[in-house]
Amino acid sequence: MTETKKVCVIGGNTTPFDYNNLHMTIEAMAANAFHETMDDLPEFNPRDIDFVVYSHFSVHFGKQLAPEWIIHDHLGLVGIPHFRVENGGNTGGCSLYAAYALVKAGLADVCPVIGWETMDTVTQSQGSEFIALASDTRYELLVGGIYPIFYAAGALKFMKENKMKEEDFALIAMKNRNNAMDNPKAQWYRNEHKYITVDDVMNSRLMAYPLKKYDCCLMSNGLAVLIVCSEEYAKQVAKDSGYVTIDGVGLSSCTIRAGDRIAFPGWTERYGPGYPDLTEFAACRNSAEQAYKRAGIEWKDSHKQINVAEIHDAFSTSECQIYKALGWADTDTIAEFVRNKETFMEGSIPANPGGGLMGYGHPVGATGLMSTIECFYQLTGKIPQKHLSNKSQVPDARVGLVNSHAGTGTSISNFILRTAEGGR
C-alpha cells in the first residue's frame, strides 16, 4: 500500500440535534441529511457510493439490533456493502477511521459515514445508566457510577495537580454553549437558547464535584452524514465547493476501568511510571502523536500549527484534560492557557466554534461526525452559510483537528484535516 493516496472529505450535514423535540425516524433523518448534502454538492451522484460505514453506539435506545439495515434499505443502497462500527463515545471517530482505511486501501472510492443516536427514547437517568453499561458493569455501574461521576473523580485530582479552579472549567463550558448560539442546528440554540456566564455554570446543579450541570454535555437525538472519498473523486465533484484532505489519523486505547491506570505495564513502557493515572488521557496523547506524525506536525508547537479544533467536550474538565493530552499545554501552563482564553474564538486555537458536545449536542454515534463536519466547514469557509453569521468562522483556517473520545478515555482518535489546494 502506498502512502501517496489521499483520502478526502467533500461534504456532510447533521439533522438538528435535540431532545424530545425531534419527531423523525432514523431512516428519514439519514435521507434528509443526504438530501441537504446534495444541495451543497450538486455534482455528487448517489450512484457513486460504493461502501457505507454506519456509526451507532447503543442499540438499547432503539431496542432494534442492526438498525443500520433499516437505514441502508430505506436509502435505496441495497447491494452496496456496509457495516457498522461501535466504539463507545469514539464511535464517530472510529467510523471515520474505518472509512479512511477503506478508501486508503482502495477498497472503496466513495464511502459515506452515517451516524446517529436516539437518546430521548428513555428518561435522562435511564439514559445515563444505558451509557454507563459501557463501564465494567460488574464493578462500576453497580456501585452507582455513571460517566459524570467517573470523570469527576479523575477531574478533581487533575484540578488539584494542575492548580486549577472550578471557574477555569466553567470558562470552557461557557465558551462552548455561547458558541452554539450562532448555530441553528445546535441543541443549546434550539432548547435553552441563552448566553451564559461563568456564574451561571457555577450556580447550576451538582452532578459530581467539580462538575455541575452546565459542565456536562447534552443528551441528544440526532444524525450526521459525512462523505469520505478518494482524492480523484474529490477533484471530480468538489472542486468548486471545496474539500479537505485527511492528512493525519491516530487511534489508541486505554483501560475500561479508570482505576487500572495507576501502573498499567503498557503505559509504563511507553511513558514511564505513574502515567496516565486517573488524571490524564494517555490514549489521546498516543493517538495525537500518531496523527501529528502522519501530518508532519511537531508535538512541541502543535497548537501553533493547528488553526481550529473540534474537541470531545463531554465535560468541561475533559476538554481541558484533552488540551494537555494534545500537547498544547503542560502542568505549568495549562491554567494560564485556559485563563488566557486561547481556545475562544478570539484566541490562538479556537476549539468547538460550533458548540461541541455541550452546545451542539452529543447523540453518541453522530458526535464524531458532527465534529468532522464542523471542521470541514471551517476549513472550506462554509461557516457563514451553515451557521447564522461569520462570527463562528475562524478566519483563514487551513489546518484543523478532530478529536473523538470514548469511555473514561478508553478509546480516543485524533485527525488532522487540511484545506485541499484550491479547495476553499
Binding site: T123, S125, V143, G144, I146, M207, G259, L278
Partner: protein, 226 residues
C-alpha cells in the same frame, strides 16, 4: 489434518477452569422482588399530537439476564463470606482488585493468576461527591464515590464511602471495608462499601468543603421528592 487437530485438542490448557460439564448449579438463593417478571415486549400506551399528525407509544421490555461469572466466581463467593478476593500474578507479582484472572503484563504471556485474599484497608486515591446518578442510584444521593487503592494492590477500585458527610472526604484518607449483613449479601460488589478507618477525623471546614456542602443542599431536598 483432522488427526493433527484431535491431537492438539487433547493437550491440556493449564488456564482452563476445571468443572463438571454441564455444572450442576443446584445451590440457588433468590431475592428478586415479587413483581419481577419477564414480560417481554409489550406496547403499554400510545399518544397522538393535538393536530393528529404525530403518533408515539411506549414499549415496555422486561428481561432477566444470567451473568455467568465462571473464572471470576471466587470473587463472588468471597463476597458472600465477607472476604475480598483478588488475584496475584505468579510471575511478575502484580496484585489485582478487581481481579484479573490472567496477568496484564504481556511478558507474562497471559498466565493464569492466583487467588489471594486482599486487605480490607486502603487509601483514597481520588474521589468525587455525586449529585446525580443512574436510575437505580438516585435515592442514595448525594454520595461519595472514591477510587481506593487497597493495601498491597496495583489497581484502584471504585466504590462508595459511607458514614461520612460528603464534603468531609479527602485525598489519601484511610478507609476500611464494611460488609453488609450476611443474609443481605448477593455476591456482588454492593455487598460491601468503604467507611473511614478507625481514628480518622474530618479536617475543619474550609472554603472548598463549604462549597461542596452548599452544592449538596438542593440535592438532599430533591431526593426527598422522589
Amino acid at each position: 489434518m483432522s488427526k493433527k487437530a484431535s491431537k492438539i485438542s487433547k493437550k491440556k490448557n493449564p488456564n482452563m477452569h476445571e468443572t463438571t460439564c454441564p455444572p450442576n448449579m443446584e445451590l440457588v438463593r433468590e431475592f428478586r422482588d415479587e413483581d419481577t417478571k419477564e414480560a417481554g415486549l409489550k406496547i403499554v400506551d400510545y399518544s397522538i399530537s393535538e393536530d393528529k399528525t404525530l403518533y408515539q407509544n411506549h414499549l415496555h421490555y422486561d428481561q432477566l439476564y444470567t451473568w455467568r461469572f465462571g473464572e471470576l466466581s471466587p470473587y463472588c463467593l468471597g463476597l458472600l463470606e465477607g472476604k475480598l478476593m483478588g488475584t496475584k500474578c505468579p510471575t511478575c507479582g502484580d496484585v489485582f482488585f478487581p481481579a484479573r484472572v490472567n496477568c496484564w503484563n504481556l511478558d507474562c504471556k497471559w498466565i493464569k493468576t492466583e487467588w489471594i485474599e486482599i486487605a480490607q484497608k486502603g487509601k483514597v486515591h481520588t474521589y468525587t461527591v455525586a449529585g446525580w446518578s443512574g436510575r437505580s442510584s438516585l435515592k442514595r444521593l448525594p454520595f461519595v464515590l472514591a477510587y481506593v487503592i487497597l493495601d498491597g494492590v496495583n489497581t484502584a477500585v471504585a466504590h462508595e464511602i459511607r458514614e461520612i458527610e460528603p464534603w468531609d472526604a479527602e485525598f489519601d484518607m484511610p478507609v476500611k471495608v464494611k460488609f453488609i449483613p450476611e443474609d443481605k449479601r448477593v455476591g456482588a460488589i454492593t455487598d460491601f462499601y468503604f467507611v473511614p478507618d478507625d481514628g480518622w477525623e474530618p479536617s475543619p471546614m474550609n472554603p472548598e468543603k463549604e462549597r461542596i456542602k452548599k452544592l449538596c443542599e438542593p440535592v438532599y431536598e430533591w431526593v426527598k421528592t422522589l
